[in-house]
């Protein structure tokens, strides 16, 4: 789950102060939070004079014990900003654990009432829960990013020795290290196949890490769908020809663009077309078509392959999952290709649908919100960023 923290701690505190000021008819508010050393620090403020810093004071410490505390100008140990006469400190507690204190201030008029305090206590109970949720989300995001970054670095480090080993093995297999016996040939072919698989796995993990950590990818912009599909098909045409599969594209007459990264959008179509070729027997067809439906652009990859059994459907996008018939026809496969496709599609605000019949074939349809592009290619400057 990337970018889950749509609610930041800062915005929770700000909304909490705004609501508190409204319901208690206050002129200013501040929130002090408990730091690691048990000290209160001013985390947020609203309506207070710039030269006033709401540092920890006696009423705050009392409020931390769980009860509202009132303060009036002139009271010993209480510092109010100039022109303010009343203060009310409300504890911010979550399951009896103090998180901090909410302060509301009035310039003049009557002091805060016990009814004000009750309403604010109800509000801070909600606020404390929201604060905890925001902190939890931020923590989750940090962990997710750290995990992705680790995978990214680790896979780069893993790639290098694999490609070197593969390069050396290929030399042996081609006889550059002298003639081989049939048994040696067979063994080296197996080593080579295993290395190919490892390389695939590492590449897929790298893609998955990139799809989950937006900061690892290049910046998003308008990407022409026709060109992206074209690149994917160009890359895979040799493989289709090798397997005697008819790979055709029915491009769309319009130039349609999607808000994505070129590499990410290409990866979606490469994976889908690659799957089509992989799971379609020789002599079959893989057809890529595309078009527009209102403000949506769709791309369909249809094959005449082995199909997906109904019991495999719910697991299709799970990491490392491979349908039993897929394993049977093709020993090599990481089970990450469709996971990557789904993550990328969702990242670009799209949807993916699949229809399949065993023995007849499979059709994947991806749909994205389209953005208007210039007639010749895509003009990044002219296209407005869509709402996220």
């Amino acid at each position: 789950m990337a970018s889950v923290a749509s609610i930041s701690e800062e915005s929770v505190l700000d909304r909490l102060m705004a609501a508190a000021m409204t319901i208690s008819v206050a002129d200013a508010a501040a929130i002090l939070l408990l730091g690691d050393e048990g000290r209160l620090w001013a985390a947020a403020r609203r309506g207070l004079p710039d030269d006033f810093s709401p540092a920890e004071s006696l009423p705050d410490r009392e409020a931390l014990s769980g009860k509202p505390v009132w303060g009036t100008a002139g009271q010993p140990g209480l510092f109010l900003p100039d022109g303010f006469s009343h203060l009310l400190c409300i504890p911010l507690t979550l399951a009896a654990r103090p998180l901090g204190v909410l302060r509301v201030y009035r310039r003049a008029g009557p002091p805060f009432s016990p009814a004000d305090a009750d309403r604010l206590l109800a509000l801070t109970a909600l606020g404390a829960a929201a604060l905890q949720a925001a902190r939890g989300l931020a923590e989750m995001e940090r962990i997710e990013v750290a995990k992705s970054r680790f995978i990214h670095v680790a896979t780069h480090e893993l790639r290098s020795p694999i490609t070197v080993a593969q390069s050396l093995v290929r030399n042996v297999v081609r006889g550059y290290a002298g003639p081989l016996t049939d048994q040696q040939k067979d063994l080296f072919a197996r080593i080579s196949a295993r290395l190919d698989f490892l390389e695939h796995l590492v590449n897929d993990l790298l893609d998955l890490a990139a799809s989950r950590a937006p900061e690892l990818a290049e910046e998003e912009g308008p990407v022409a769908v026709n060109s992206s599909v074209g690149r994917a098909v160009l890359l895979l045409m040799p493989r289709a020809e090798e397997k005697e599969i008819t790979l055709t594209v029915q491009p769309c007459c319009e130039e349609l663009a999607v808000w994505a990264t070129e590499e990410g959008l290409d990866r979606i179509f490469v994976n889908l077309v690659e799957n089509g070729i992989k799971y379609t027997p020789s002599g079959g067809r893989v057809t890529v078509s595309m078009g527009r439906d209102g403000d949506q652009v769709w791309v369909r990859v249809a094959d005449t392959g082995i199909g997906i059994p109904p019991e495999a459907m719910p697991h299709l996008f799970e990491e490392f999952y491979r349908a039993p018939n897929a394993r049977a026809v093709n020993a090599v496969g990481t089970g990450l290709g469709l996971t990557i496709v789904k993550e990328l599609v969702e990242r670009y605000r799209g949807r993916i649908a699949v229809e399949s019949e065993v023995g007849k074939g499979t059709t994947f349809t991806v749909t994205f919100p389209t953005i208007r592009a210039g007639s010749a290619g895509v003009d990044a400057g002219a296209a407005a960023r869509p709402p996220t």
């Binding site: 694999i162 080993a165 550059y176 890359l235």
Partner: protein
């Protein structure tokens, strides 16, 4: 006189993988294990082709070498070697490699070979580049 090929690559095993098919096909192979050493050896050997890894002591060391060798400045100390074809080693596994083509303005190289190295692909690219540069001279 056999054609001279300079391999600029810091991984000795990758050097072996490149060297075997080249030597088996009669090329004279020289090796430099850093970008700096590579530039030095270009001047010493005046090779017929340079094979360049991108990521060495820094992630773009190879690009730095190719930029120096292809410097448009006529006073550059590498100006006499500007014509030497450059083959770059990449480890790009996506369609990016389709755009990562030989483009003077973008990256001054003549062609690229994907890692892992396929000896036959390597040899055909080496042959084609040397022939092409002969024709231009």
């Amino acid at each position: 006189m056999p054609d001279k090929i300079l391999i600029v690559e810091d991984d000795p095993d990758m050097v072996t993988a490149l060297r075997m098919p080249l030597e088996a096909n009669g090329y004279e192979v020289y090796v430099a294990s850093s970008g700096q050493e590579g530039l030095q050896k270009v001047k010493e050997i005046n090779p017929d082709l340079v094979i360049l890894d991108v990521m060495m002591e820094t992630t773009t060391a190879g690009f730095q070498v190719s930029l120096q060798l292809r410097s448009p400045d006529p006073r550059s100390e590498y100006a006499p070697y500007r014509h030497i074809p450059i083959l770059i080693l990449t480890a790009i596994h996506t369609t990016t490699s389709l755009r990562f083509g030989p483009d003077e303005a973008y990256l001054p190289v003549d062609d690229f070979v994907d890692k892992p190295i396929d000896p036959e692909v390597l040899l055909s690219k080496v042959r084609a580049l040397i022939e092409k540069s002969r024709g231009q001279k």
